[in-house]
Symmetry: C2
Subunit: 488 residues, 2 copies
């Protein structure tokens, strides 16, 4: 008998085939009917099933609506990306149901619509983020909720409430596992987002507390996503997959599927297996604060569809020309100084396509100076190839500012004109990315995004619908509109 076989058989004997007694792990008794044990996961299930809708404050609903609008805009813009089209075609060919796929307008099962729409929502990496989650809180949750709502019927208000509940579950888990989880290489938008999506859908479907518990315990069997696939089509697909699994776990629990109530914090459960013994704080899972996380840590939106390190420099360029436009022909040299630690990943003095443009401090500053705005079209290959932009990029020098706090966004922009004069501006941070500050960018960003796929008048009509989302009793017409004028 080999050593390997010995170990395998020993472990099987401990945990496996002969493990009928492993169902009971935690100690105190549960208040959930039919569930014998009280676990942190059971506390989450109670929160999901029992929190009265009236406990979700209006300000949280407003933030949820902004997140909804933003993610749907970037999903429509992302729906023309190759990864979105591949997934949309796949689900159109293999799935059946009534939920709308934004890309192409197919009607498929709720889980598969979530797969396609969440993939599209993350294809551009232009969706919101949350620093507690260490990822993007909305993109796994909203597509799952919308698909189930379209299939089963739910009001706009119910969807936004369920989003706030799911947001709380995902960020509670994040509090328990970060930042060890992120540093180990997990992709939290997917690995934690999937729990948020399950919780949100379970809430929307009004599952019993025991069913929510089973759904979340089952989710521990489904979480996946590694950072090695960042920079490839697999990254947005990981998020689509999480949204799909959220729908699936909630639906299967509703159909009677059961799992181990200790699958989160028990021996060889999610926390231990994904983070490693000692690298998590299980108690944080069920420690709810005074304030909901969507109000405490909130959302961070992206104004520009480029690397975060380019945002403050773009703002500086726009500051510099505000009220005093410059002609590219008048510019001698441009010097952009940014944090030495940030320059390494955006110092790209030559750009030949849109993707490179997103990661070029030289290109983004040049384009902002020349056009007075940065929008999605700046990252089309055609725009990047414009001769006056290419020429201006050649005159931009990027330099590092040493000794700044590691994540400081401080930047200094100096333009030397051919007439010998100079203009300078300094910024300490990008502006307008926070939940409340972003409001004024919400509509123009949405319109810009939707215009990538649909006519402007359709984009405007969609914005109006979504801006009144709380008042909708049936979201199906809006879902059809999301798939374009032809599908509406």
């Amino acid at each position: 008998m080999t050593f390997g076989r010995l170990l395998f058989m020993l472990a099987e004997a401990r945990h496996g085939r002969c493990g009928a007694s492993r169902r009971q792990v935690a100690s105190s008794s549960s208040v959930i009917p039919g569930v014998a044990v009280m676990t942190h996961l059971a506390a989450l299930a109670q929160f999901v099933a029992r929190t009265p809708g009236s406990h979700v404050p209006p300000a949280a609903i407003t933030r949820a609506r902004h997140a909804l609008i933003d993610v749907l805009g970037v999903a429509i813009a992302g729906s023309v990306e190759p990864v979105s089209k591949i997934i949309a075609q796949h689900v159109a060919a293999t799935s059946r149901g009534v939920a709308t796929v934004i890309t192409g307008g197919a009607r498929v099962s709720a889980a598969d619509a979530a797969l396609a729409n969440a993939t599209a929502g993350h294809a551009l990496d232009f969706d919101d983020s949350n620093f507690v989650l260490g990822g993007h809180p909305t993109v796994a949750l909203m597509p799952a909720l919308l698909a189930v709502a379209e299939e089963r019927g739910a009001s706009g208000r119910e969807i936004l409430e369920a989003y706030v509940i799911g947001f709380e579950i995902a960020t509670r888990l994040a509090n328990a596992v970060h930042f060890e989880h992120y540093e180990k290489g997990w992709h939290p938008t997917a690995t934690l987002g999937v729990f948020g999506a399950t919780a949100a859908v379970a809430r929307l479907l009004r599952l019993t507390e025991a069913q929510v518990l089973n759904a979340l315990a089952l989710t521990a069997s489904m979480a996946s996503g590694v950072k090695a696939n960042f920079g490839s089509m697999a990254k947005p697909l990981q998020v689509g997959h999480a949204s799909h699994k959220g729908v699936l776990c909630a639906q299967l629990a509703a159909a009677g599927l059961t799992a181990n109530p200790a699958a989160l914090e028990g021996t060889q459960g999610f926390l231990e297996v994904y983070n490693g013994a000692g690298n998590y704080r299980a108690e944080a899972v069920s420690t709810f604060g005074e304030e909901l996380e969507i109000m405490r840590s909130g959302l961070k939106f992206k104004k520009y569809p480029s690397c975060g390190s380019t945002h403050a420099p773009i703002d500086a360029a726009l500051d510099l020309i505000r009220g005093r436009p410059l002609r590219a022909a008048d510019i001698d040299t441009v010097t952009i100084a940014i944090n030495q630690r940030r320059i390494t990943h955006v110092n790209r003095p030559k750009v030949s396509n849109g993707l490179e443009g997103k990661f070029s401090i030289q290109y983004t500053v040049a384009a902002a100076l020349a056009d007075g705005a940065i929008s999605l079209r700046h990252f089309n290959d055609e725009t990047v190839a414009r001769p006056e932009l290419q020429q201006l990029v050649g005159h931009v020098n990027a330099v590092g500012i040493p000794d700044l706090e590691s994540l400081s966004q401080r930047c200094e922009l100096t333009v030397k004109l051919k007439d010998g004069s100079t203009r300078s501006v300094r910024r300490d941070d990008a502006e307008g990315r926070g939940s409340d500050e972003f409001v004024r960018y919400l509509e123009p960003k949405f319109i810009d995004c939707v215009e990538q796929a649909y006519p402007r008048e359709h984009a405007r009509a969609l914005f109006r619908d979504l801006d009144a989302f709380e008042t909708l009793t049936d979201i199906a017409p809006v879902m059809h509109k999301l798939a374009g004028p032809a599908a509406a």
Copy 2:
């Protein structure tokens, strides 16, 4: 700025949005067209795409056929379990395609048929295992292959060849990660089986080498399954999920989806994230031995649908009455002595249902003595309730043998008769579980399994078809038969 936010932003800057340059990780150049780097994963892809079918020896094909027959038998028996029915109903309601679901006979997409059939195949935990994998090699692979073959057309021989190839990929990965992987709490039937399923389907679909590489790299985004959910419905579903993902990853790669070629061994790839730095041997992934793993380590089959620790004692009971049956009424006491380390999980002197019967040394020995055989019907609640069995169970004493090697199966059975005489027998191991030794149990086990759902004559016809599987040019008729006489 909080510490958490600092860490998140730093990590995002390192790996995330600004990580366009992360696609290239390994150093030497690849021989795969369009793939810039040579990785261990690329070596696996070469093996999958390039190994000539003629290099798969006839003995491997025979083992593959036995695995096929065995897993389909237990899947049919498992198809009546609640978890199988829930999943079958779910896919019947949400999926479309031509692949057959064994449970219920619905026709769905290949991936969803794999989901349902692999779940059914593992519902009883009665399917084969392999000690290198530390799990069950066939149950994730075969349902994926059969579903794709039914949808796209493939011969029996091609399916068996693709199974052997997928088996090799899953066990190569196991060599790289075990037993750290298993000990950490991963469920390798799912987490490694998913790579085997992807490889097998990719082979069957004749993907190019570059496509196989993308499919396997994408699989690194999909692997999941934790041991905490053992003993619940989520365990077989984890395996169904793996089979589903295998189909999906191969199909999406065929449709043009790309992923990072270093997603297995690169920074924050599968090996590092799932096992932890230093807890794996990446080079083992591409180190192919003289012999295929299906020939070297082979398959271990289950003769009896009960805990592995009951198998040698059941064999002992059958030895004891071979040619000399006993009447239960003549038995005074039965003493079964087994390894002290094994007795803890099968010492169950009272049994009130089938599941308890599977984990009771007293019940399994009593039933074997009384009926001269152990089959699935012994784990029906009705059989367990039979008065003469219940009475005999009350006369069985279980004792531990101390100081044995930890996994020794040694057992000693002594029956004291009412006439004062005794009979004793000793066994050192269970018999007939290895790939070649199991052949004589294959047909009776299959018939017993299939009879749980279908009439005996249908079971026999199915066995004949499957026993000639290499000769089939179209497997669709057999797939329909698997769903029962009405679907055939």
